[in-house]
Subunit: 312 residues, 2 copies
Protein backbone atom coordinates (compact mmCIF):
# COMPACT_ATOMS: atom_id res chain seq x y z
CA UNK A 1 0.00 0.00 0.00
CA UNK A 2 2.79 2.45 0.76
CA UNK A 3 4.20 2.29 -2.74
CA UNK A 4 0.83 3.26 -4.18
CA UNK A 5 0.56 6.25 -1.88
CA UNK A 6 4.11 7.29 -2.62
CA UNK A 7 3.61 6.94 -6.34
CA UNK A 8 0.60 9.23 -6.27
CA UNK A 9 2.33 11.71 -3.99
CA UNK A 10 5.38 11.83 -6.23
CA UNK A 11 3.25 12.44 -9.32
CA UNK A 12 1.36 15.18 -7.53
CA UNK A 13 4.60 16.80 -6.48
CA UNK A 14 6.29 16.54 -9.84
CA UNK A 15 3.32 18.01 -11.65
CA UNK A 16 2.39 20.58 -9.05
CA UNK A 17 -0.99 19.13 -8.18
CA UNK A 18 -2.86 19.99 -5.02
CA UNK A 19 -0.83 18.18 -2.43
CA UNK A 20 2.21 20.40 -2.62
CA UNK A 21 0.26 23.52 -1.82
CA UNK A 22 -2.82 24.03 0.23
CA UNK A 23 -6.23 22.43 0.04
CA UNK A 24 -7.21 24.70 -2.84
CA UNK A 25 -5.49 26.73 -5.53
CA UNK A 26 -5.83 30.47 -4.85
CA UNK A 27 -6.24 32.76 -7.87
CA UNK A 28 -6.84 36.54 -7.82
CA UNK A 29 -10.40 37.37 -8.91
CA UNK A 30 -11.15 41.06 -8.41
CA UNK A 31 -10.23 43.86 -6.02
CA UNK A 32 -12.12 42.31 -3.08
CA UNK A 33 -11.78 38.60 -3.56
CA UNK A 34 -9.58 35.67 -4.45
CA UNK A 35 -10.99 32.56 -6.01
CA UNK A 36 -10.45 29.06 -4.64
CA UNK A 37 -10.39 26.01 -6.88
CA UNK A 38 -10.42 22.40 -5.77
CA UNK A 39 -11.06 19.06 -7.43
CA UNK A 40 -11.56 15.57 -6.00
CA UNK A 41 -11.57 12.41 -8.06
CA UNK A 42 -13.52 9.49 -6.57
CA UNK A 43 -13.24 6.06 -8.18
CA UNK A 44 -15.41 3.04 -7.50
CA UNK A 45 -13.75 0.33 -5.38
CA UNK A 46 -10.84 2.67 -4.67
CA UNK A 47 -12.53 5.61 -2.99
CA UNK A 48 -15.95 4.09 -2.31
CA UNK A 49 -17.96 0.90 -2.69
CA UNK A 50 -21.46 1.03 -4.11
CA UNK A 51 -22.64 -1.78 -1.83
CA UNK A 52 -21.64 0.22 1.25
CA UNK A 53 -23.52 3.38 0.50
CA UNK A 54 -26.58 4.76 -1.27
CA UNK A 55 -26.57 6.85 -4.45
CA UNK A 56 -27.78 9.89 -2.47
CA UNK A 57 -25.05 9.51 0.18
CA UNK A 58 -22.46 9.18 -2.56
CA UNK A 59 -23.72 12.39 -4.17
CA UNK A 60 -23.47 14.07 -0.77
CA UNK A 61 -19.94 12.85 -0.15
CA UNK A 62 -18.68 13.74 -3.64
CA UNK A 63 -19.55 17.37 -2.95
CA UNK A 64 -18.70 17.36 0.78
CA UNK A 65 -15.04 16.41 0.27
CA UNK A 66 -14.55 19.41 -2.04
CA UNK A 67 -16.50 21.76 0.23
CA UNK A 68 -14.15 20.69 3.03
CA UNK A 69 -11.17 21.90 0.98
CA UNK A 70 -12.85 25.29 0.53
CA UNK A 71 -13.67 25.38 4.28
CA UNK A 72 -10.02 24.68 5.14
CA UNK A 73 -9.06 27.89 3.34
CA UNK A 74 -11.77 29.91 5.11
CA UNK A 75 -13.66 30.37 1.85
CA UNK A 76 -17.30 30.19 0.85
CA UNK A 77 -18.21 27.74 -1.93
CA UNK A 78 -20.00 29.35 -4.89
CA UNK A 79 -20.37 27.00 -7.82
CA UNK A 80 -19.44 23.53 -8.94
CA UNK A 81 -18.98 21.25 -11.90
CA UNK A 82 -19.43 17.51 -11.73
CA UNK A 83 -18.13 14.87 -14.14
CA UNK A 84 -19.54 11.37 -13.93
CA UNK A 85 -18.39 8.26 -15.76
CA UNK A 86 -21.16 5.73 -15.37
CA UNK A 87 -21.25 1.98 -16.02
CA UNK A 88 -23.95 0.70 -18.33
CA UNK A 89 -25.55 -1.36 -15.55
CA UNK A 90 -26.56 1.81 -13.71
CA UNK A 91 -28.18 3.54 -16.67
CA UNK A 92 -31.65 2.18 -16.56
CA UNK A 93 -31.81 2.52 -12.79
CA UNK A 94 -32.63 5.58 -10.71
CA UNK A 95 -28.97 5.76 -9.64
CA UNK A 96 -28.10 9.09 -11.25
CA UNK A 97 -31.32 10.77 -10.19
CA UNK A 98 -30.74 9.77 -6.56
CA UNK A 99 -27.04 10.65 -6.79
CA UNK A 100 -27.79 14.15 -8.09
CA UNK A 101 -30.54 14.57 -5.50
CA UNK A 102 -28.08 13.83 -2.68
CA UNK A 103 -25.60 16.21 -4.30
CA UNK A 104 -28.18 19.00 -4.67
CA UNK A 105 -29.51 18.72 -1.11
CA UNK A 106 -26.04 19.47 0.25
CA UNK A 107 -25.36 22.06 -2.46
CA UNK A 108 -28.55 23.93 -1.57
CA UNK A 109 -27.51 24.06 2.10
CA UNK A 110 -24.33 25.89 1.10
CA UNK A 111 -25.78 27.93 -1.77
CA UNK A 112 -23.63 26.09 -4.31
CA UNK A 113 -24.81 26.23 -7.92
CA UNK A 114 -24.12 23.47 -10.43
CA UNK A 115 -22.84 25.31 -13.51
CA UNK A 116 -21.76 22.40 -15.68
CA UNK A 117 -20.20 19.02 -15.97
CA UNK A 118 -19.72 16.09 -18.28
CA UNK A 119 -20.98 12.53 -18.46
CA UNK A 120 -19.50 9.55 -20.22
CA UNK A 121 -19.89 5.82 -20.22
CA UNK A 122 -17.30 4.01 -18.08
CA UNK A 123 -16.69 0.48 -16.89
CA UNK A 124 -16.61 1.58 -13.25
CA UNK A 125 -18.26 4.55 -11.59
CA UNK A 126 -16.04 7.66 -11.70
CA UNK A 127 -16.91 10.97 -10.05
CA UNK A 128 -14.84 14.12 -10.41
CA UNK A 129 -16.04 16.94 -8.18
CA UNK A 130 -14.88 20.43 -8.90
CA UNK A 131 -15.79 23.35 -6.63
CA UNK A 132 -15.10 27.06 -6.96
CA UNK A 133 -15.10 29.22 -3.86
CA UNK A 134 -14.34 32.78 -2.87
CA UNK A 135 -12.36 34.29 -0.05
CA UNK A 136 -11.44 37.84 0.97
CA UNK A 137 -8.40 38.99 -1.00
CA UNK A 138 -5.10 37.83 0.48
CA UNK A 139 -6.90 36.30 3.47
CA UNK A 140 -7.14 32.60 2.54
CA UNK A 141 -6.18 30.35 5.44
CA UNK A 142 -2.96 28.53 4.58
CA UNK A 143 -1.06 25.61 6.06
CA UNK A 144 2.10 27.60 6.39
CA UNK A 145 1.75 30.11 9.23
CA UNK A 146 2.01 28.01 12.42
CA UNK A 147 4.65 29.21 14.94
CA UNK A 148 6.21 27.47 17.96
CA UNK A 149 4.02 28.19 20.97
CA UNK A 150 0.75 28.19 18.97
CA UNK A 151 -2.02 25.99 20.31
CA UNK A 152 -3.35 23.24 18.08
CA UNK A 153 -7.11 22.76 17.79
CA UNK A 154 -9.42 20.33 16.08
CA UNK A 155 -13.05 21.23 15.35
CA UNK A 156 -14.64 17.94 16.36
CA UNK A 157 -14.36 14.21 16.99
CA UNK A 158 -11.83 12.19 15.07
CA UNK A 159 -11.49 8.51 14.29
CA UNK A 160 -15.20 8.08 13.65
CA UNK A 161 -14.89 7.83 9.87
CA UNK A 162 -12.16 5.22 10.28
CA UNK A 163 -14.34 3.18 12.67
CA UNK A 164 -17.18 3.54 10.18
CA UNK A 165 -14.97 2.17 7.42
CA UNK A 166 -14.09 -0.85 9.54
CA UNK A 167 -17.76 -1.44 10.32
CA UNK A 168 -18.68 -1.21 6.64
CA UNK A 169 -15.91 -3.66 5.74
CA UNK A 170 -17.44 -6.01 8.30
CA UNK A 171 -20.97 -5.77 7.00
CA UNK A 172 -22.64 -2.98 9.00
CA UNK A 173 -24.88 -0.80 6.84
CA UNK A 174 -26.61 2.47 7.76
CA UNK A 175 -30.25 1.96 8.70
CA UNK A 176 -32.90 2.38 11.40
CA UNK A 177 -32.02 -0.85 13.21
CA UNK A 178 -28.35 -0.07 13.70
CA UNK A 179 -27.11 0.89 17.17
CA UNK A 180 -26.54 4.64 17.54
CA UNK A 181 -22.75 4.50 18.00
CA UNK A 182 -22.32 2.30 14.96
CA UNK A 183 -24.76 4.34 12.89
CA UNK A 184 -22.89 7.53 13.80
CA UNK A 185 -19.56 6.04 12.78
CA UNK A 186 -20.90 4.68 9.51
CA UNK A 187 -22.51 8.01 8.64
CA UNK A 188 -19.31 9.78 9.60
CA UNK A 189 -17.66 7.75 6.83
CA UNK A 190 -20.47 8.01 4.29
CA UNK A 191 -21.90 11.47 5.00
CA UNK A 192 -19.17 13.87 6.13
CA UNK A 193 -20.09 17.49 6.86
CA UNK A 194 -17.73 20.27 5.76
CA UNK A 195 -16.70 22.73 8.49
CA UNK A 196 -17.50 25.79 6.37
CA UNK A 197 -18.92 27.92 9.19
CA UNK A 198 -15.88 27.49 11.46
CA UNK A 199 -13.48 28.11 8.57
CA UNK A 200 -15.29 31.35 7.87
CA UNK A 201 -15.07 32.48 11.51
CA UNK A 202 -11.35 31.62 11.70
CA UNK A 203 -10.80 33.82 8.66
CA UNK A 204 -13.03 36.69 9.74
CA UNK A 205 -11.46 36.87 13.20
CA UNK A 206 -8.00 36.32 11.72
CA UNK A 207 -7.63 33.70 14.43
CA UNK A 208 -5.78 30.79 12.81
CA UNK A 209 -2.10 30.93 11.89
CA UNK A 210 -2.43 27.70 9.88
CA UNK A 211 -5.36 25.46 8.87
CA UNK A 212 -5.86 22.13 7.10
CA UNK A 213 -8.78 19.73 6.79
CA UNK A 214 -8.47 16.21 8.19
CA UNK A 215 -8.92 14.21 5.00
CA UNK A 216 -5.88 11.92 5.12
CA UNK A 217 -5.86 11.57 8.93
CA UNK A 218 -4.41 13.54 11.84
CA UNK A 219 -0.91 12.06 11.60
CA UNK A 220 -0.60 12.85 7.87
CA UNK A 221 -2.41 16.16 7.86
CA UNK A 222 -0.59 17.45 10.94
CA UNK A 223 2.57 16.42 9.10
CA UNK A 224 1.53 18.49 6.07
CA UNK A 225 0.78 21.51 8.26
CA UNK A 226 4.07 21.21 10.14
CA UNK A 227 6.05 20.77 6.93
CA UNK A 228 4.42 23.80 5.28
CA UNK A 229 4.98 25.89 8.43
CA UNK A 230 8.49 24.63 9.13
CA UNK A 231 7.58 23.56 12.67
CA UNK A 232 7.06 20.50 14.87
CA UNK A 233 4.16 19.61 17.14
CA UNK A 234 3.39 17.95 20.43
CA UNK A 235 -0.03 16.34 20.72
CA UNK A 236 -1.42 15.21 24.09
CA UNK A 237 -3.09 11.84 23.67
CA UNK A 238 -5.46 12.46 26.59
CA UNK A 239 -6.85 15.58 24.93
CA UNK A 240 -7.77 13.97 21.58
CA UNK A 241 -11.56 14.04 21.04
CA UNK A 242 -11.76 10.42 19.99
CA UNK A 243 -15.13 9.41 18.55
CA UNK A 244 -17.14 6.91 20.59
CA UNK A 245 -16.03 3.38 19.81
CA UNK A 246 -12.91 4.50 17.92
CA UNK A 247 -9.37 3.74 19.05
CA UNK A 248 -6.40 6.07 19.51
CA UNK A 249 -4.92 4.61 16.33
CA UNK A 250 -8.08 5.40 14.38
CA UNK A 251 -8.03 8.97 15.70
CA UNK A 252 -4.39 9.36 14.74
CA UNK A 253 -4.31 7.61 11.41
CA UNK A 254 -7.87 7.28 10.15
CA UNK A 255 -8.78 9.77 7.47
CA UNK A 256 -11.96 11.37 6.20
CA UNK A 257 -13.25 12.93 9.39
CA UNK A 258 -13.17 16.26 7.55
CA UNK A 259 -12.77 18.26 10.73
CA UNK A 260 -10.46 21.25 10.57
CA UNK A 261 -7.08 21.23 12.30
CA UNK A 262 -5.81 24.74 13.05
CA UNK A 263 -3.30 26.62 15.11
CA UNK A 264 -3.84 29.76 17.21
CA UNK A 265 -1.32 32.12 18.84
CA UNK A 266 -1.20 31.65 22.65
CA UNK A 267 -2.53 35.14 23.43
CA UNK A 268 -5.73 34.37 21.49
CA UNK A 269 -6.32 30.84 22.76
CA UNK A 270 -9.28 31.94 24.89
CA UNK A 271 -11.16 33.19 21.80
CA UNK A 272 -11.45 29.68 20.40
CA UNK A 273 -13.61 28.35 23.22
CA UNK A 274 -16.95 29.42 21.82
CA UNK A 275 -16.26 27.69 18.50
CA UNK A 276 -16.52 24.31 20.19
CA UNK A 277 -13.05 23.35 18.98
CA UNK A 278 -10.83 21.20 21.18
CA UNK A 279 -7.23 22.01 22.08
CA UNK A 280 -5.03 18.98 21.46
CA UNK A 281 -1.46 20.26 21.75
CA UNK A 282 1.17 22.88 20.93
CA UNK A 283 3.37 23.79 18.01
CA UNK A 284 7.09 23.32 18.82
CA UNK A 285 10.28 23.99 16.86
CA UNK A 286 10.84 21.72 13.84
CA UNK A 287 13.89 20.24 15.55
CA UNK A 288 11.60 18.71 18.22
CA UNK A 289 9.73 16.66 15.63
CA UNK A 290 6.08 15.68 15.74
CA UNK A 291 5.29 13.81 18.96
CA UNK A 292 2.43 12.28 20.90
CA UNK A 293 2.55 12.54 24.70
CA UNK A 294 0.74 9.70 26.39
CA UNK A 295 0.35 8.83 30.07
CA UNK A 296 3.58 6.86 30.15
CA UNK A 297 5.60 7.70 27.11
CA UNK A 298 6.25 10.20 24.37
CA UNK A 299 6.40 8.75 20.86
CA UNK A 300 6.88 10.09 17.37
CA UNK A 301 3.84 10.54 15.16
CA UNK A 302 4.55 9.02 11.75
CA UNK A 303 2.23 9.91 8.88
CA UNK A 304 0.12 6.78 8.46
CA UNK A 305 -3.15 8.41 7.61
CA UNK A 306 -3.65 6.88 4.25
CA UNK A 307 -5.52 3.80 3.26
CA UNK A 308 -5.76 4.08 -0.47
CA UNK A 309 -8.30 1.38 -0.82
CA UNK A 310 -11.06 3.57 0.41
CA UNK A 311 -9.49 6.94 0.91
CA UNK A 312 -7.46 9.19 -1.23
CA UNK B 1 -25.84 3.44 -30.11
CA UNK B 2 -28.62 6.00 -30.23
CA UNK B 3 -30.04 5.03 -26.88
CA UNK B 4 -26.67 5.65 -25.24
CA UNK B 5 -26.45 9.12 -26.77
CA UNK B 6 -30.01 9.92 -25.79
CA UNK B 7 -29.48 8.68 -22.24
CA UNK B 8 -26.50 10.96 -21.76
CA UNK B 9 -28.25 13.90 -23.38
CA UNK B 10 -31.30 13.44 -21.18
CA UNK B 11 -29.16 13.34 -18.04
CA UNK B 12 -27.30 16.44 -19.13
CA UNK B 13 -30.56 18.23 -19.78
CA UNK B 14 -32.21 17.16 -16.54
CA UNK B 15 -29.25 18.18 -14.45
CA UNK B 16 -28.34 21.31 -16.39
CA UNK B 17 -24.95 20.11 -17.57
CA UNK B 18 -23.09 21.70 -20.44
CA UNK B 19 -25.08 20.53 -23.41
CA UNK B 20 -28.17 22.59 -22.71
CA UNK B 21 -26.32 25.85 -22.74
CA UNK B 22 -23.25 26.90 -24.60
CA UNK B 23 -19.82 25.35 -24.79
CA UNK B 24 -18.86 26.88 -21.43
CA UNK B 25 -20.61 28.19 -18.35
CA UNK B 26 -20.31 31.99 -18.12
CA UNK B 27 -19.92 33.50 -14.63
CA UNK B 28 -19.35 37.21 -13.78
CA UNK B 29 -15.79 37.79 -12.54
CA UNK B 30 -15.08 41.52 -12.17
CA UNK B 31 -16.06 44.80 -13.82
CA UNK B 32 -14.17 44.01 -17.04
CA UNK B 33 -14.46 40.27 -17.45
CA UNK B 34 -16.61 37.20 -17.28
CA UNK B 35 -15.17 33.81 -16.48
CA UNK B 36 -15.67 30.73 -18.63
CA UNK B 37 -15.69 27.22 -17.19
CA UNK B 38 -15.62 23.98 -19.13
CA UNK B 39 -14.92 20.34 -18.29
CA UNK B 40 -14.40 17.30 -20.51
CA UNK B 41 -14.32 13.74 -19.25
CA UNK B 42 -12.35 11.28 -21.39
CA UNK B 43 -12.57 7.57 -20.63
CA UNK B 44 -10.39 4.82 -22.01
CA UNK B 45 -12.00 2.67 -24.72
CA UNK B 46 -14.94 5.07 -24.85
CA UNK B 47 -13.29 8.34 -25.79
CA UNK B 48 -9.86 7.07 -26.79
CA UNK B 49 -7.82 3.91 -27.20
CA UNK B 50 -4.31 3.74 -25.78
CA UNK B 51 -3.09 1.58 -28.67
CA UNK B 52 -4.14 4.23 -31.20
CA UNK B 53 -2.29 7.15 -29.71
CA UNK B 54 0.75 8.11 -27.64
CA UNK B 55 0.71 9.40 -24.05
CA UNK B 56 1.88 12.83 -25.26
CA UNK B 57 -0.84 13.05 -27.94
CA UNK B 58 -3.42 12.04 -25.35
CA UNK B 59 -2.20 14.80 -23.02
CA UNK B 60 -2.47 17.23 -25.92
CA UNK B 61 -6.00 16.14 -26.83
CA UNK B 62 -7.26 16.17 -23.23
CA UNK B 63 -6.43 19.88 -23.04
CA UNK B 64 -7.29 20.74 -26.67
CA UNK B 65 -10.95 19.66 -26.40
CA UNK B 66 -11.47 22.00 -23.44
CA UNK B 67 -9.55 24.85 -25.09
CA UNK B 68 -11.89 24.45 -28.06
CA UNK B 69 -14.87 25.09 -25.78
CA UNK B 70 -13.24 28.31 -24.56
CA UNK B 71 -12.44 29.29 -28.18
CA UNK B 72 -16.07 28.78 -29.19
CA UNK B 73 -17.06 31.47 -26.67
CA UNK B 74 -14.38 33.88 -27.91
CA UNK B 75 -12.48 33.57 -24.64
CA UNK B 76 -8.84 33.20 -23.71
CA UNK B 77 -7.91 30.18 -21.57
CA UNK B 78 -6.11 31.06 -18.31
CA UNK B 79 -5.71 28.08 -16.02
CA UNK B 80 -6.61 24.43 -15.76
CA UNK B 81 -7.03 21.50 -13.41
CA UNK B 82 -6.54 17.92 -14.47
CA UNK B 83 -7.80 14.77 -12.76
CA UNK B 84 -6.34 11.44 -13.79
CA UNK B 85 -7.46 7.96 -12.77
CA UNK B 86 -4.64 5.64 -13.73
CA UNK B 87 -4.51 1.84 -13.99
CA UNK B 88 -1.79 0.06 -12.02
CA UNK B 89 -0.19 -1.25 -15.23
CA UNK B 90 0.80 2.28 -16.27
CA UNK B 91 2.41 3.28 -12.96
CA UNK B 92 5.90 2.04 -13.40
CA UNK B 93 6.04 3.26 -17.00
CA UNK B 94 6.82 6.74 -18.28
CA UNK B 95 3.15 7.13 -19.28
CA UNK B 96 2.23 9.98 -16.92
CA UNK B 97 5.43 11.90 -17.55
CA UNK B 98 4.86 11.77 -21.31
CA UNK B 99 1.16 12.52 -20.89
CA UNK B 100 1.87 15.64 -18.80
CA UNK B 101 4.59 16.69 -21.22
CA UNK B 102 2.13 16.61 -24.13
CA UNK B 103 -0.36 18.50 -22.00
CA UNK B 104 2.18 21.15 -20.97
CA UNK B 105 3.50 21.74 -24.50
CA UNK B 106 0.01 22.74 -25.64
CA UNK B 107 -0.69 24.62 -22.39
CA UNK B 108 2.49 26.68 -22.82
CA UNK B 109 1.42 27.67 -26.35
CA UNK B 110 -1.76 29.17 -24.95
CA UNK B 111 -0.33 30.49 -21.69
CA UNK B 112 -2.46 28.07 -19.65
CA UNK B 113 -1.27 27.38 -16.11
CA UNK B 114 -1.91 24.09 -14.30
CA UNK B 115 -3.21 25.13 -10.88
CA UNK B 116 -4.28 21.77 -9.45
CA UNK B 117 -5.78 18.39 -9.98
CA UNK B 118 -6.21 15.00 -8.44
CA UNK B 119 -4.90 11.51 -9.11
CA UNK B 120 -6.35 8.18 -8.10
CA UNK B 121 -5.91 4.55 -8.99
CA UNK B 122 -8.47 3.27 -11.51
CA UNK B 123 -9.06 0.11 -13.50
CA UNK B 124 -9.15 2.05 -16.76
CA UNK B 125 -7.54 5.36 -17.68
CA UNK B 126 -9.80 8.31 -16.84
CA UNK B 127 -8.97 11.93 -17.65
CA UNK B 128 -11.08 14.89 -16.56
CA UNK B 129 -9.91 18.18 -18.06
CA UNK B 130 -11.13 21.38 -16.52
CA UNK B 131 -10.26 24.76 -18.06
CA UNK B 132 -11.00 28.28 -16.86
CA UNK B 133 -11.02 31.13 -19.36
CA UNK B 134 -11.83 34.81 -19.49
CA UNK B 135 -13.85 36.91 -21.87
CA UNK B 136 -14.79 40.60 -22.03
CA UNK B 137 -17.83 41.22 -19.85
CA UNK B 138 -21.13 40.38 -21.56
CA UNK B 139 -19.33 39.63 -24.82
CA UNK B 140 -19.04 35.83 -24.79
CA UNK B 141 -19.97 34.31 -28.15
CA UNK B 142 -23.17 32.32 -27.75
CA UNK B 143 -25.03 29.80 -29.88
CA UNK B 144 -28.22 31.75 -29.72
CA UNK B 145 -27.91 34.89 -31.89
CA UNK B 146 -28.17 33.62 -35.50
CA UNK B 147 -30.83 35.32 -37.65
CA UNK B 148 -32.36 34.32 -41.01
CA UNK B 149 -30.19 35.77 -43.77
CA UNK B 150 -26.92 35.34 -41.82
CA UNK B 151 -24.13 33.55 -43.65
CA UNK B 152 -22.75 30.37 -42.11
CA UNK B 153 -18.98 29.90 -41.95
CA UNK B 154 -16.64 27.15 -40.86
CA UNK B 155 -13.01 27.90 -39.93
CA UNK B 156 -11.38 24.94 -41.69
CA UNK B 157 -11.62 21.50 -43.19
CA UNK B 158 -14.13 19.05 -41.79
CA UNK B 159 -14.42 15.26 -41.93
CA UNK B 160 -10.70 14.74 -41.38
CA UNK B 161 -11.00 13.58 -37.78
CA UNK B 162 -13.69 11.11 -38.81
CA UNK B 163 -11.50 9.74 -41.61
CA UNK B 164 -8.66 9.54 -39.10
CA UNK B 165 -10.84 7.50 -36.75
CA UNK B 166 -11.70 5.07 -39.55
CA UNK B 167 -8.01 4.73 -40.42
CA UNK B 168 -7.09 4.08 -36.78
CA UNK B 169 -9.81 1.46 -36.51
CA UNK B 170 -8.27 -0.20 -39.55
CA UNK B 171 -4.74 -0.24 -38.24
CA UNK B 172 -3.13 2.97 -39.50
CA UNK B 173 -0.89 4.61 -36.89
CA UNK B 174 0.81 8.02 -37.00
CA UNK B 175 4.45 7.81 -38.04
CA UNK B 176 7.08 8.86 -40.56
CA UNK B 177 6.23 6.14 -43.09
CA UNK B 178 2.54 6.98 -43.39
CA UNK B 179 1.28 8.72 -46.53
CA UNK B 180 0.67 12.44 -45.99
CA UNK B 181 -3.12 12.36 -46.48
CA UNK B 182 -3.51 9.50 -44.04
CA UNK B 183 -1.10 11.03 -41.54
CA UNK B 184 -3.01 14.32 -41.66
CA UNK B 185 -6.31 12.59 -41.04
CA UNK B 186 -4.96 10.51 -38.17
CA UNK B 187 -3.38 13.56 -36.53
CA UNK B 188 -6.60 15.47 -37.05
CA UNK B 189 -8.23 12.82 -34.83
CA UNK B 190 -5.39 12.50 -32.31
CA UNK B 191 -4.02 16.06 -32.16
CA UNK B 192 -6.79 18.62 -32.69
CA UNK B 193 -5.92 22.32 -32.54
CA UNK B 194 -8.32 24.72 -30.82
CA UNK B 195 -9.36 27.77 -32.90
CA UNK B 196 -8.63 30.24 -30.11
CA UNK B 197 -7.23 32.98 -32.36
CA UNK B 198 -10.26 33.08 -34.65
CA UNK B 199 -12.67 32.96 -31.72
CA UNK B 200 -10.88 35.98 -30.26
CA UNK B 201 -11.12 37.93 -33.54
CA UNK B 202 -14.83 37.10 -33.92
CA UNK B 203 -15.41 38.51 -30.45
CA UNK B 204 -13.19 41.57 -30.83
CA UNK B 205 -14.79 42.55 -34.16
CA UNK B 206 -18.25 41.62 -32.85
CA UNK B 207 -18.59 39.72 -36.11
CA UNK B 208 -20.40 36.50 -35.22
CA UNK B 209 -24.08 36.37 -34.30
CA UNK B 210 -23.70 32.74 -33.10
CA UNK B 211 -20.75 30.38 -32.64
CA UNK B 212 -20.20 26.72 -31.72
CA UNK B 213 -17.24 24.36 -31.99
CA UNK B 214 -17.52 21.26 -34.16
CA UNK B 215 -17.04 18.58 -31.54
CA UNK B 216 -20.05 16.34 -32.21
CA UNK B 217 -20.06 16.90 -35.99
CA UNK B 218 -21.56 19.49 -38.37
CA UNK B 219 -25.03 17.95 -38.47
CA UNK B 220 -25.34 17.82 -34.67
CA UNK B 221 -23.58 21.07 -33.88
CA UNK B 222 -25.43 23.03 -36.57
CA UNK B 223 -28.56 21.54 -35.01
CA UNK B 224 -27.54 22.85 -31.57
CA UNK B 225 -26.84 26.32 -32.98
CA UNK B 226 -30.14 26.43 -34.89
CA UNK B 227 -32.10 25.21 -31.88
CA UNK B 228 -30.49 27.78 -29.56
CA UNK B 229 -31.08 30.55 -32.10
CA UNK B 230 -34.59 29.44 -33.10
CA UNK B 231 -33.67 29.27 -36.80
CA UNK B 232 -33.13 26.82 -39.66
CA UNK B 233 -30.20 26.53 -42.07
CA UNK B 234 -29.42 25.71 -45.67
CA UNK B 235 -26.00 24.25 -46.32
CA UNK B 236 -24.59 23.98 -49.85
CA UNK B 237 -22.88 20.62 -50.23
CA UNK B 238 -20.52 21.95 -52.93
CA UNK B 239 -19.16 24.60 -50.56
CA UNK B 240 -18.21 22.26 -47.71
CA UNK B 241 -14.43 22.25 -47.15
CA UNK B 242 -14.19 18.47 -47.00
CA UNK B 243 -10.80 17.19 -45.83
CA UNK B 244 -8.77 15.27 -48.43
CA UNK B 245 -9.82 11.66 -48.50
CA UNK B 246 -12.95 12.24 -46.41
CA UNK B 247 -16.50 11.73 -47.69
CA UNK B 248 -19.49 14.08 -47.58
CA UNK B 249 -20.95 11.88 -44.84
CA UNK B 250 -17.79 12.22 -42.77
CA UNK B 251 -17.88 15.99 -43.20
CA UNK B 252 -21.53 16.11 -42.17
CA UNK B 253 -21.58 13.60 -39.34
CA UNK B 254 -18.01 13.05 -38.21
CA UNK B 255 -17.13 14.84 -35.01
CA UNK B 256 -13.96 16.13 -33.37
CA UNK B 257 -12.69 18.42 -36.11
CA UNK B 258 -12.81 21.21 -33.51
CA UNK B 259 -13.23 23.91 -36.14
CA UNK B 260 -15.61 26.75 -35.28
CA UNK B 261 -18.98 27.09 -36.98
CA UNK B 262 -20.29 30.66 -36.87
CA UNK B 263 -22.85 32.96 -38.44
CA UNK B 264 -22.33 36.50 -39.73
CA UNK B 265 -24.90 39.15 -40.77
CA UNK B 266 -25.02 39.59 -44.58
CA UNK B 267 -23.71 43.17 -44.51
CA UNK B 268 -20.51 42.02 -42.80
CA UNK B 269 -19.89 38.89 -44.87
CA UNK B 270 -16.92 40.50 -46.67
CA UNK B 271 -15.06 41.01 -43.38
CA UNK B 272 -14.73 37.28 -42.83
CA UNK B 273 -12.57 36.68 -45.90
CA UNK B 274 -9.23 37.43 -44.26
CA UNK B 275 -9.89 34.95 -41.46
CA UNK B 276 -9.59 32.08 -43.92
CA UNK B 277 -13.05 30.81 -42.96
CA UNK B 278 -15.26 29.22 -45.61
CA UNK B 279 -18.86 30.19 -46.28
CA UNK B 280 -21.02 27.05 -46.40
CA UNK B 281 -24.61 28.32 -46.39
CA UNK B 282 -27.28 30.63 -44.97
CA UNK B 283 -29.49 30.79 -41.94
CA UNK B 284 -33.20 30.49 -42.84
CA UNK B 285 -36.39 30.63 -40.75
CA UNK B 286 -36.91 27.71 -38.36
CA UNK B 287 -39.95 26.62 -40.39
CA UNK B 288 -37.66 25.82 -43.34
CA UNK B 289 -35.74 23.24 -41.30
CA UNK B 290 -32.07 22.35 -41.65
CA UNK B 291 -31.28 21.32 -45.20
CA UNK B 292 -28.40 20.31 -47.45
CA UNK B 293 -28.54 21.46 -51.09
CA UNK B 294 -26.70 19.10 -53.38
CA UNK B 295 -26.29 19.15 -57.15
CA UNK B 296 -29.49 17.22 -57.74
CA UNK B 297 -31.54 17.31 -54.58
CA UNK B 298 -32.22 19.06 -51.32
CA UNK B 299 -32.34 16.82 -48.23
CA UNK B 300 -32.83 17.30 -44.54
CA UNK B 301 -29.78 17.25 -42.30
CA UNK B 302 -30.46 14.95 -39.36
CA UNK B 303 -28.14 15.17 -36.35
CA UNK B 304 -25.98 12.07 -36.72
CA UNK B 305 -22.72 13.49 -35.53
CA UNK B 306 -22.18 11.21 -32.62
CA UNK B 307 -20.30 8.02 -32.35
CA UNK B 308 -20.05 7.41 -28.65
CA UNK B 309 -17.48 4.73 -28.94
CA UNK B 310 -14.74 7.20 -29.66
CA UNK B 311 -16.36 10.57 -29.47
CA UNK B 312 -18.45 12.26 -26.91
Amino acid sequence: MRSEFEFIESIKKRHKLKVIGDDCAVVPMNTQSDQLFTVDLLIENIDFRLEWTTPALLGHKALAVSLSDIAAMGGMPKCAMLSVGIPQGLWKTSFLDEFYEGWHILADKFGVKLIGGDISKASELVIDSFVIGEVAKGKALLRSGAKPGDFIFVTGEIGGASLGLLLLENGTRPGPNVEAILQNAVLRQLKPMPQTAIGKILLEKDLATATIDLSDGLSSDLGHLCKASGVGAEIEASRLPIAKGASLEMALNGGEDFELLFTVPPERQFEVGRLGAVEIGRIVPASSGIKLSGEKEVRNIEPKGFDHFVER
